[in-house]
Structure formats: structure tokens, C-alpha cells
């Protein structure tokens, strides 16, 4: 189960970071921040490889006592870092890989949003990141959608009148 997901810009500042145990958020900030050292090192090590052959998934960055930190880097050098509970043995490399792939897709969706300025913090009013559910990370990562301006939101809500019935997941399948 991912306990923390972070999207980090090319210049190594966080675009998005959210963790499920919100009471100790700072701990995960530190964890993700220090993991960037390893990410940098791994990127510089594979810098020579051909672009199309490059593996985006960086693998395990480092284990700590309670958590494992995994990394992923897009071709535009945006990094994804995921912290998972090390007690969870169900998550193998393949699951982590697919979670990252979903995350990447969601991130691409965010980039496609005309209201989003690349480089801005990704803000979300939908604080329902189900990081505890690995299968859901992908589709529900639409929470990454930036906060809409009020009018847009109003239009959206007007269109999606049965907000409660349809659930939030359906909201973005416009």
C-alpha cells in the first residue's frame, strides 16, 4: 500500500505530495526529499543510455525501517516517488511498476488540463487520494487535477448534477 505519493518537478521541488497518515506528514516530506539524492544519482548514472531504451522505473531507492521508497522518472525529468509500507509483501516490483505507470498517465492528464500552468503546485480540492489502495491509485489520481477556478467548477458541478449519486470518480470522465 502506498502511504505517500510525490510528484517532483525537474528542478527538484515538489509539485504534489500527499500521504495517508496525515498526522506525520513532515516525516514523509523528509523521506521523499532525501530520496532525491538517490534519484539524482540514478539519473546521472543512466544519463548515457539512449532515450528510447531508457527505463523510466528507477526501482527501490532505499529501504528504511518501516518503509520502502520507490522512484520513477519521466522523460521530461519529472520524478515520481512512492513510499510503501515495507510490511506489505504483496507489493512486488510489477505492482509498483504498474502503479507508477498509472500515476504517469494521471500526471499526463493533469498536464493536458488547460487550466494548469506547468511548474505550478498541483493542488486538489479532492483530498481523497486512496494511496492505500494500489489498484485505485491510477484512476483516482485524477485528484491531481488542479483546483479549478470557481466558474469552471460551477459549470462542472452544473453538468454533473447527480454529484452524490455518481460519485466523484465519474466526475472527470466528461
Amino acid at each position: 500500500m502506498a502511504v505517500c505519493i510525490a510528484v517532483i518537478a525537474k528542478e527538484n521541488y515538489p509539485l504534489y505530495i500527499r500521504s495517508t497518515p496525515t498526522e506525520n506528514e513532515l516525516k514523509f516530506h523528509y523521506m521523499v526529499h532525501t530520496s532525491l539524492d538517490v534519484v539524482d544519482e540514478k539519473i546521472s548514472a543512466m544519463g548515457k543510455a539512449l532515450v528510447d531504451q531508457r527505463e523510466l522505473y528507477l526501482g527501490l531507492l532505499y529501504p528504511t525501517e518501516d518503509y520502502k521508497v520507490y522512484g520513477y522518472v519521466t522523460n521530461s525529468k519529472v520524478k515520481f516517488v512512492m513510499v510503501v509500507d515495507s510490511s506489505n509483501t504483496a507489493l512486488r516490483d510489477n505492482e509498483i511498476r504498474s502503479m507508477f505507470r498509472k500515476l504517469h498517465n494521471s500526471y499526463t492528464d493533469v498536464m493536458c488540463n488547460p487550466f494548469y500552468n506547468p511548474g505550478d503546485r498541483i493542488q486538489s480540492r479532492w483530498a481523497l487520494l486512496p494511496v492505500s489502495d494500489p489498484v485505485q491509485v491510477g484512476p483516482a489520481f485524477c485528484v491531481l487535477l488542479p483546483s479549478f477556478c470557481r466558474t469552471c467548477l460551477a459549470i462542472l458541478v452544473a453538468k454533473m448534477q447527480p454529484f452524490g449519486k455518481q460519485g466523484r470518480k465519474g466526475l472527470f470522465k466528461l
Binding site: 521541488y13 506528514e25 526529499h33 532525501t34 532525491l36 538517490v38 532505499y62
Partner: protein, 863 residues
């Protein structure tokens, strides 16, 4: 063995450990002066051979670490140098006794020792002794270095004899079993005759000989011995010593591969720094020969008889990759033993240093990660700090700046852990400052002014809070104020409303003791904290320089300059000039300010805070002209919209004035905010010409002011309305008082009048004045009053027109509104206006006769 030496590096394996200690009362200063001189003798070439000895000096060494000397000989204290003060001969025996006591501590391992006595003179000094050197004082001791060299040579002789003794030990039947302190009880009652036991003894001894060879400067030999030892120990599963043998192998290989050293302490440590590895190998060949003096000794011990082939093979020395593999193996063996935690930790550190040189950061970080988890016994707080600092340094070494900062911060927090009786806030603060680059945080607000802040806000905010707290506990409120202002200024967007309140609350508390200034604060470490102007409290969006009010606006008099207004260029048109003017227009505003007059600048500000913001002492920062700024205080409501604020000041000299910015005092912090540094500010130019002071005239009349203005002010002129009611034939004097309220003498006065009515003929010319009388009082000095009298005489001519009466009666009824007004009453309402310009045409004539009396005044400058 409980105290790890975090500074160890692989090449320490070839050093001899010498402890230098004071005996009795020796001042720290004197001791370290001598200690420094002793330390300068860190390597010497042994005479008659090409071998080099390396010495490691310590002024403190825990004796329990000494007990591990058999395990790794570089941990063994082989030399002791004591330094003592002794001023009289009768203290001498006592001092000498102390020296012996000191010797006892490391007695079991010492090869030799020396006593340096300072201050003693007399016959004792005359007796030549090898183990004691006398010096009259701490200045006069030139031979210290020579003495140390002799001492080291004597150490070498012992070392060499031990080495040869062990290496050629023919009494093969009984090799003593070397063991580490915690093993001793395990071997009680073991069958000493078994093959297994013998092999173990041989392997350990071989490893020991390898250590000695390495110390004696015989690298190749040591490699051979280590290799043999590894094979022996592997066969008997003696893991701890196998680990040590492997580590020895690594150390020797590191020394071979990296003559520059891995500790980074002294680059030119070995062989004047220039010896190539191949050369170094050759130099060691003589040593390698020596071991072959008696090859029989080796065979009798059941070791590979043909060592000569092994010496020749390159595989003796590990390749750089192998070094790391072997280190890994050694560490994994060490980790089987709880009591060898220190050894394991030190091995990790050594490996990391090697990897750092090899630039293999990822693997190095794995070793460090392992080192973090090595659980030593309960560490004291000081040791914890040391451990975290070293981890931080090592991470820095391999280029992991963030991780390094993390551990440094942990070390800083450890300095002030609640369990420490006297928290080291100063040390904590210093360490925290060192973490700043790791968190990509600079304390210069200028780095943040461009656009939005991009960084690890949550982490950085935490760090800033800690800096504030540490500096406060250090008793330096100025620093806390600076850091807190920085926090507020740069992290404003990330603070929650409650946090904003808390931060400002504490900032106000601090500034009540120590107001924030604009001075840079220099820290002892050479860092300076630049001032933090609050450009966001309040946020200024728009700056506009205002023209003077219409009454005070200067007007150029054409007559004065006459035809003299000519361009400086002889050309009628020049594109260059036009271009210049266009450029100037960007910055310069096309109105003027007047010296001595109050000038205004309007700022549009807003308050981003969720509470009322009190801004005090808000004034302008200008340059170019002496400017007396009149500060204002304002209070902005919570999260206000744009709010206009007018800042005023008086230019004291003439020239071109540039408004550079403004200063404020918010929460007790003074800030100078320069417009250039403000992001997203709109300004319509900030440079204005200040012209010399002009006179000011105040006009008052004897007649009461009219309640309603008959003519709207057109903006260009200043008017005062007075009204008077007169009967036909009646006359009245209107006295106009002209007071010079400026600082300049008034020199010229012009008066014109105009009756604004279509019925001019009807009323005739009823105003008359004598200007000469008034002009006689000119030039009017400042503060002086001149009077100007206008006679109003009403004489209506009823004879000319029929409908006059009708008109008048209409007037009377419709306008005056007096119920008692008779048709024969004439209402005249003259209007006197003091104005500096020609009156414009007004069509609002009609019922009354409006009279405009224009007063023009001016002064001349003889410039």
C-alpha cells in the same frame, strides 16, 4: 571495544598508534603547542631502507580499545609520549612516578615511551637518559622533532623484531592463539591439539603478521600474508578473524591503489605524493625478499610453500571492484558478532571513503545505510551527535547533500535533546546553518523575490522555525527576529492562517526586546544574514507620483522666457533627440514638484494577513534631492482589497528626484522596500523634476463667502466666491487681503475683471480699483499682507429699455425668492475670484451679474 573512531580510513591500518598525553598540570595551550609539533612528524623513512613508517597520534585513547590491539595492530598503542611541567628538582621523583603510572595504562602493548619535561633545570638534566628529554621552557625546545624521530626509530626496531619473530616462527608446534577480549572465555577447555584449532591459530597469526608487515611498510608481504590467512581462516569458519583478514587485504590494496589517501586529511601523505603505484611496488620488493629468507618457516606451518609465485602475481592486490566486494564480505562477517559492532561500523566508514574516491555513490550509500543500523551499546548524547555529524559528512562526501543535511539536522537536534543538562544551542544553531544548502534554502530574501517560491516549503519552514528557536535560546534576539522575518516574508504563501497569527505574535514579542533593522547581521562563521524587507506586508501593487494640487501647480510664464525657448540642437528636427525624449518619458513624469511644497505619492496596497495589519512609520525612500519624508501610520483591515495610501514629503532642494521605494515598520521590524525588487508592481515612472521654490499667495476678502458656488471649478483654477447684495446707487468696498504665505517674495500682481452677463450694457462698469496702491507694497515679503480694494458702485440706467423692469422683476421673483422684494430693487451679486490664470469664458450668465476678478501673481528669479 566501545568507542568507534569515526575518522578512520583504510590507510590507518599501516600506522603506528602513539598516544601523547599530559601528566600533572599542563596548560592546554602549551600541551597542544607541543602536540602539534609532535604531530608534524607523521611519517619517516627508516634509515637504510626504503620503507616508510606512518604514525598516528592521539591525545586521548580509551584503554579498552587497546585490548583489541591483537585483532588489528593499528588499534594497539605502541608508543606513549607524556608531557609534563616540572619546576624544581624535588618534584622530579614524583613526576617520574606519574609517568610510570601513565605507562601502566597501556603497558601491555607499549613498545617504547618518552617523557618530555619542561621547566626543569639543574643536575638531573645533565644525566643523559633515553626515555626522558628536558627542556627549559615551551619556547626553547627545537629538538622535539628530532627526539620524536629517534623515538619512532626505536619503535620501528621493536616492530621489525616482532615481525621477523612472528614471521619466521619455527616453533610450529605451538603457535599461540590470538583472540579478541570477548572471545577469551569461549576457548576455555578447547582441545588445543586438534587440527582445527591449529589451523585457527595459524590463520590468526598469519593475519597478525600481515598487519605487522603493513605497519612496517612492507605492503606486498602483507598482501601475501593476508591472502594466506584468508584461506586458512575460511577453512575453519573463523568468521571474525576472516573478516579482519579480508579487511586487512582491502586496506593494503587501498593503500596500493590510492596513494593520495582516502581520508582526505593530507593529500601528499605518501612518498612526497608523487610515487606511482608501480614504483611503490618496487620499493616494497626488498621487503618482500625478506620474508623469503626462510621459506622453510612457511612450509613447516603448512602454508602454501611457494610464496614466491604468489608475490609475483598481480592478484595479490585486489582490484578496485574487488576491494568493495571484500569489504562487503568482511562486514557481513563482522555483523555476526554483536561485540564487534564498532569494528563493523568503522569498516563501513572506511569502505565509504574508498567508494567516495571511486565515485560510486550508490554503493557507498548502501554501506552508510548499513552503518546507520549498526546498533552499538547505549550511546552517550555526545557520541550520538558525533555519529550523526560523521554520517552527514560522509553523505556529503558521496554527494548526497540532502541526506547529509538531514543527518546534520538530526545532529543539531541531538545537541539540544531534553536529556542533556546543558543544551548546546550554539552548536545546534551552527549545525542548522550548515544544513541550509542541503535544503536549498538561502537566507537572502532576494533569491525568493522572483516569482513564486519553489522548494520544499514544509521542510524549509520547519528548519526556519528551528533556527528561530535555537537563536532565541542562544540569547541572540536579533538573529531570531531576522530569521522570523525571513520566514514570514518568504513562506507567507505556505503559512496557514493560524500559523500566520502565531508567527506574527512571536515576532512582535521578539521585536519588543530587539527591533528588527535593515543592517546585515554577520555570523561568526563568516556568513552574513542580509536584511529582510517586508515587501509583502503590506503588498504594494501600484505606485503613482501625484501632481501638486491645482492651486500650487507651477506654470511657466511665456513672457519671462520669451523667444528664448530654443532647443539646444541647431537642427530643426533630429531623430536622435526625439529618441532621447521618448526614452526619458518612460521614466520621467511630465509634471514638476516644487521645492518646499508638500508632494504626494499614492500607493495601492493590500493586506494579505487574516487580521488587521498595523503599518507604522511608512515613508518614502528617495534619491537625487534632499527630501523630508513625513511618515504615515496606517491600519489595514484583514485581507483588504486594494487600499490607497498617500505618502507625503517635502523636497528641500531642487533637481531630479527619484522615488526608489518606501520604508515601513511592521511588527516592530524596519524594512526598506525598493521598488526595483518588488515583483508585479505597476509604476508610472518614479522620477520627477523638482523646481525651485515658488511663492504662495493666500487671498481673503472682507465680504462673506457665498454659500453656493455659481460656477463649477474647472479644475485649472482656484476660485473663491463671495456675494453681496446692493441697492441701486449703493456702493461698497471689497477689500481683498493678499497674504504671502510662502517663503519667496511676491513681485508682480495683475488684476482683470469680467462681467459675465449678457446684460453688460444694463449694469455698466460698476467695479473700479486702484492697483497702484497695492503694487506699492510689492515685492511682498514672506509673511507680509497687502490689501487691495475694489469699489463696487451700482448705478443702473433705467432709461434705455422698456422691458428692463420686466426683466428685473422676473429676476427678483425667480431668483432672490424674497417675498418682500420690490420691482425697484436691484440685486447685484458680484463674484470675486482670485485666480492665477485667465478666466475661461463662462456661459452661465443670466440672472445675476457675475464678475470675475482675476488676480495673477508671480515672482521672478534672477537666475
Amino acid at each position: 571495544m566501545s568507542v568507534p573512531d569515526y575518522m578512520q580510513c583504510a590507510e590507518d591500518h599501516q600506522t603506528l598508534l602513539v598516544v601523547v598525553q599530559p601528566v600533572g598540570i599542563v596548560s592546554e595551550e602549551n600541551f597542544f603547542r607541543i602536540y602539534k609539533r609532535i604531530c608534524s612528524v607523521s611519517q619517516i623513512s627508516v634509515r637504510d631502507s626504503q620503507r616508510v613508517l606512518y604514525i598516528r597520534y592521539r591525545h586521548h585513547y580509551p584503554p579498552e580499545n587497546n585490548e583489541w590491539g591483537d585483532f588489528q595492530t593499528h588499534r594497539k598503542v605502541v608508543g606513549l609520549i607524556t608531557i609534563t611541567d616540572c619546576f624544581s628538582a624535588k618534584d622530579w621523583p614524583q613526576t617520574f612516578e606519574k609517568f610510570h603510572v601513565q605507562k601502566e595504562i597501556y603497558g601491555s602493548t607499549l613498545y617504547d615511551s618518552r617523557l618530555f619535561v619542561f621547566g626543569l633545570q639543574g643536575e638531573i638534566v645533565e644525566q643523559p637518559r633515553t626515555d626522558v628529554a628536558f627542556y627549559p621552557n615551551y619556547e626553547d625546545c627545537q629538538t622535539v622533532e628530532k627526539r620524536i624521530e629517534d623515538f619512532i626509530e626505536s619503535l620501528f626496531i621493536v616492530l621489525e623484531s616482532k615481525r621477523l619473530d612472528r614471521a619466521t616462527d619455527k616453533s610450529g608446534d605451538k603457535i599461540p592463539l590470538l583472540c579478541v577480549p570477548f572471545e577469551k572465555k569461549d576457548f576455555v577447555g578447547l582441545d588445543t591439539d586438534s587440527r582445527h584449532y591449529k589451523k585457527r591459530c595459524q590463520g590468526r597469526m598469519r593475519k597478525h603478521v600481515g598487519d605487522l608487515c603493513l605497519q612496517a611498510g612492507m605492503l606486498q608481504d602483507s598482501l601475501v600474508h593476508y591472502h594466506m590467512s584468508v584461506e586458512l581462516l575460511r577453512s575453519v569458519n573463523d568468521f571474525l578473524w576472516l573478516g579482519a583478514a579480508l579487511e586487512g587485504l582491502c586496506s593494503a590494496s587501498v593503500i596500493y591503489h590510492y596513494p593520495g589517501g582516502t581520508g582526505g586529511k593530507s593529500g601528499a601523505r605518501r612518498f612526497q605524493g608523487s610515487a606511482l603505484p608501480a614504483e611503490a611496488a618496487n620499493r616494497h620488493r626488498p621487503g618482500a625478499q625478506e620474508v623469503l629468507i626462510d621459506p622453510g618457516a612457511l612450509t613447516t606451518n603448512g602454508i602454501n610453500p611457494d610464496t614466491s609465485t604468489e608475490i609475483g602475481r598481480a592478484k595479490n592486490c585486489l582490484s578496485p571492484e574487488d576491494i568493495i566486494d571484500k569489504y562487503k564480505e568482511a562486514i557481513s562477517y563482522y555483523s555476526k558478532y554483536k561485540n564487534a559492532g564498532v569494528i563493523e561500523l568503522e569498516a563501513c566508514i572506511k569502505a565509504v571513503r574508498v567508494l567516495a574516491i571511486q565515485k560510486r555513490s550508490m554503493e557507498a550509500s548502501e554501506f552508510l545505510q548499513n552503518a546507520v543500523y549498526i546498533n552499538l551499546r547505549q550511546l552517550s548524547e555526545e557520541e550520538k551527535i558525533q555519529r550523526y555529524s560523521v554520517l552527514s559528512e560522509l553523505y556529503e562526501l558521496i554527494g548526497f547533500h540532502r541526506k547529509s543535511a538531514f543527518f546534520k539536522r538530526v545532529a543539531a537536534m541531538q545537541c539540544v535533546a531534553p536529556s542533556i543538562a546543558e543544551p548546546g544551542w550554539r552548536a545546534c544553531y551552527k549545525l542548522l546553518l550548515e544544513t541550509l544548502p542541503g535544503y536549498s534554502l538561502s537566507l537572502d530574501p532576494k533569491d525568493f523575490s522572483r516569482g513564486t517560491h519553489r522548494g520544499w516549503a514544509a521542510v524549509q519552514m520547519r528548519l526556519l522555525h528551528e533556527l528561530v528557536y535555537a537563536s532565541r535560546r542562544m540569547g541572540n534576539p536579533a538573529l531570531s527576529v531576522r530569521h522570523l522575518s525571513f520566514l514570514l516574508q518568504t513562506m507567507l504563501d505556505f503559512l496557514s492562517d493560524q500559523e500566520k497569527k502565531d508567527v506574527t505574535q512571536s515576532l512582535e514579542n521578539y521585536t519588543s526586546k530587539c527591533p528588527g533593522t535593515m543592517e546585515p547581521i554577520a555570523l561568526p562563521g563568516g556568513l552574513t544574514l542580509p536584511p529582510v524587507p517586508f515587501t509583502k506586508l503590506p503588498i504594494v501593487r501600484h505606485v503613482k507620483l501625484l501632481n501638486l494640487p491645482a492651486s500650487l501647480r507651477p506654470h511657466k510664464m511665456k513672457s519671462l522666457l520669451g523667444q528664448n525657448v530654443s532647443t539646444k540642437s541647431p537642427f530643426i528636427y533630429s531623430p536622435i533627440i526625439a529618441h532621447n525624449r521618448g526614452e526619458e518619458r518612460n521614466k520621467k513624469i511630465d509634471f514638476q514638484w516644487v521645492q518646499g511644497d508638500v508632494c504626494e505619492v499614492q500607493l495601492m496596497v493590500y493586506n494579505p494577513m487574516p487580521f488587521e495589519l498595523r503599518v507604522e512609520n511608512m515613508g518614502l525612500l528617495t534619491s537625487g534631492v534632499e527630501f523630508e519624508s513625513l511618515p504615515a501610520a496606517l491600519s489595514l483591515p484583514a485581507e483588504s482589497g486594494l487600499y490607497p495610501v498617500t505618502l507625503v514629503g517635502v523636497p528641500q532642494t531642487t533637481g531630479t528626484i527619484t522615488v526608489n521605494g518606501y520604508h515601513t515598520t511592521v511588527f516592530g521590524v524596519f524594512s526598506d522596500c525598493l521598488l526595483d525588487n518588488l515583483p508585479g508592481i505597476k509604476t508610472s515612472g518614479s522620477t520627477v523634476e523638482v523646481i525651485p521654490a515658488l511663492p504662495r499667495l493666500q487671498i481673503s476678502t472682507s465680504l462673506p463667502r457665498s454659500a453656493h458656488s455659481l460656477q463649477p471649478s474647472s479644475g485649472d483654477e482656484i476660485s473663491t466666491n463671495v456675494s453681496v447684495q446692493l441697492y441701486n446707487g449703493e456702493s461698497q468696498q471689497l477689500i481683498i487681503k493678499l497674504e504671502n504665505i510662502g517663503m519667496e517674495p511676491l513681485e508682480k500682481l495683475e488684476v482683470t475683471s469680467k462681467v459675465l452677463t449678457t446684460k453688460e450694457k444694463l449694469y455698466g462698469d460698476f467695479l473700479s480699483w486702484k492697483l497702484e496702491e497695492t503694487l506699492a507694497q510689492f515685492p511682498l515679503q514672506p509673511g507680509k499682507v497687502a490689501t487691495f480694494t475694489i469699489n463696487i458702485k451700482v448705478k443702473l440706467d433705467f432709461s434705455c429699455q422698456e422691458n428692463l423692469l420686466q426683466d428685473l422683476s422676473d429676476d427678483g421673483i425667480s431668483v432672490s425668492g424674497f417675498p418682500l422684494s420690490s420691482p425697484f430693487r436691484q440685486v447685484v451679486r458680484p463674484r470675486v475670484e482670485g485666480k492665477p490664470v485667465n478666466p475661461p469664458e463662462s456661459n452661465k450668465a443670466g440672472d445675476y451679474s457675475h464678475v470675475k476678478v482675476s488676480v495673477k501673481y508671480s515672482c521672478f528669479f534672477l537666475s
